[in-house]
């Protein structure tokens, strides 16, 4: 038997009222995979990513992390909610998420941000968490900034701190929700190079991005979402080099 997928999504649907934003999406990411999700705005790519850690509640479908499926409870005909908040918390603590707007905790210094989850969620002893925190901050190039409050850093530095915060929990998989979309153009590169290093380490990632050149570069698998469906998927050379569907061809032309 092969190993369990790190992330498995089967026939995921998500509706907001009468509007269906995901119309049956499936995805499998094995450990070490870097899945890039591309698509226009409103295609449902962020919603799909946010369903993986239950920040959005799927309307139907199945999501499993490392072989463990979320236990869901049916709410009416077209909605579900997690049956066990404890399970959701446990699974979430093994997934790290990087947000478009960084979402660092501004009342804590960079190091305090990084050690917060290890200490207060995972129960790591403080000295150990601090040692690891300094280690991951060094890896994202912020060793000198550990006592700085987020408000005094550039967007690129804040996003790298947010990535360090995720690395500190040593997650099974990392979820990136348009990590460079809120950055000034000159700051995008420093964040992408950190993510590129993580991809080279064979970390499992799902990456929602508008950076096509970057997706082509680091992804092992690319998913093109359009209007709530996967219109095309495959290895990056195929998606970007030889797109089949007219919509994807046009999308790639429009963002290139």
């Amino acid at each position: 038997m092969t190993q369990d997928p790190a992330i498995e999504i089967r026939d995921l649907h998500k509706s907001y009222g009468a509007i269906e934003v995901l119309k049956g999406v499936s995805m499998t990411a094995y450990p070490g995979d870097v899945v890039a999700v591309i698509g226009g705005s409103g295609s449902g790519k962020s919603t799909m990513l946010r369903c993986i850690n239950m920040l959005e509640k799927p309307s139907s479908g199945r999501i499993a992390i490392q072989g463990e499926a979320y236990e869901m409870r049916q709410l009416g005909t077209n909605a579900m909610e997690p049956a066990s908040p404890k399970q959701v918390q446990r699974i979430r603590s093994q997934l790290g998420m990087v947000f478009q707007n960084f979402n660092l905790w501004p009342h804590r210094t960079v190091l305090q941000n990084v050690i917060e989850v290890p200490i207060h969620v995972l129960g790591v002893p403080k000295e150990q968490a601090v040692a690891r925190g300094r280690d991951v901050l060094a890896r994202v190039g912020l060793a000198e900034k550990e006592d700085v409050y987020p408000a005094f850093m550039s967007g690129g530095q804040q996003q790298r701190a947010a990535i360090a915060r995720v690395l500190a929990v040593d997650p099974l998989a990392m979820l990136f929700d348009e990590p460079t979309s809120a950055l000034d153009p000159e700051l995008v590169g420093e964040v992408l190079s950190v993510i590129r290093d993580l991809a080279a380490e064979k970390r499992t990632m799902v990456l929602v991005t508008h950076e096509m050149a970057f997706a082509r570069d680091v992804a092992s698998h690319v998913i093109y979402l359009r209007d709530g469906r996967i219109e095309e998927e495959g290895p990056p050379e195929q998606i970007f080099g030889d797109p089949q569907s007219p919509n994807l061809q046009q999308f790639i032309r429009s963002v290139a």
């Binding site: 699974i91 997934l95 979402n103 501004p106 009342h107």
Partner: protein, 274 residues
């Protein structure tokens, strides 16, 4: 040329002497001289002979004022947190209850509330032998519990509104990040939501605490021996008008200044960067 001078001057850290010299600008010197001569005139031309005699009682009054202030601020804030929280996330009946409480208390004079508690509740308690026999009675027959109660409830109502705004104003993404890392809801509250809300509310709270200090003299009307009540007694005993009142001004000013400095310090411990 000026460009080249800027780094040089910026690098030079001014010594203590230079800092003092920088403080004494002409307009400041005039103001200081005026203030000092005012104080000197008060000390020299007015009658302060009563001061030593009343000192112990004034201390007692000051302690009672501080006790009323800090007691009502601490207890009131502990009430304000749930009052603000349920107005943001509470189930509808609780939300209505909290909104109603804040509206009623904020919409009526504190003096009126104080009298209703003291004359209403106080005389009501006295009618029940069951209450008169409990351990609480020695406290309930005094005036200060009603003063503290009225001040606490008033502070809770005002700060409940402040905390409602503060809780609602914490950016959603900061809470979402905590949830995304698997933080239990109670921890999201104690580690992120509450500290962020308090930090955002601190500048407002500073002002409200000063207002609360200046509301404490109202308890003198129900015979609580706070600073104001003692000074009133001084005036009755000495038949002096200005001296005791000026002392009162000086003490309240000092208290306000100390409170503001302390709360500023607290605010600046976490720089918001804005």
């Amino acid at each position: 040329m000026t460009d080249m001078n800027i780094p040089a001057t910026a690098d030079r850290t001014p010594g203590a002497l230079a800092q003092i010299r920088a403080f004494f600008l002409p307009h400041r010197i005039v103001m200081l001289a005026l203030a000092l001569s005012g104080v000197a005139a008060m000390v020299l031309t007015m009658d302060w002979s009563w001061l030593p005699q009343f000192m112990p009682r004034l201390w007692g009054g000051l302690l009672m004022t501080l006790y009323m202030l800090f007691g009502s601020v601490i207890l009131g804030f502990l009430l304000a947190v749930p009052l603000g929280l349920v107005q943001v996330v509470g189930p509808r009946p609780l939300r209505w209850l909290a909104t109603g409480f804040c509206t009623v208390i904020r919409g009526t004079p504190l003096l009126l509330q104080l009298w209703l508690f003291y004359y209403g509740l106080g005389s009501l308690f006295a009618q029940y032998p069951e209450i008169r026999e409990t351990w609480m009675w020695p406290y309930l027959r005094q005036a200060w519990p009603y003063g503290l109660l009225a001040l606490t409830i008033s502070f809770a109502a005002y700060e409940g509104e402040v905390m409602r705004g503060a809780f609602a104003g914490v950016p959603h993404g900061e809470l979402e990040a905590a949830h995304a890392f698997g933080m239990p809801r109670t921890k999201v509250f104690t580690r992120v939501w509450l500290p962020r809300a308090v930090h955002r509310a601190l500048p407002t709270l500073t002002g409200e605490i000063i207002l609360q200090l200046k509301s404490t003299p109202l308890v003198a009307t129900v015979a609580v021996a706070d600073l104001y009540a003692i000074v009133t007694r001084v005036r009755q005993a000495t038949l002096l008008t200005y001296e005791p009142l000026l002392l009162l001004v000086a003490i309240y000013l000092c208290l306000s200044a100390i409170l503001i400095a302390g709360l500023r310090w607290l605010e600046n411990r976490v720089p918001s960067g804005h």
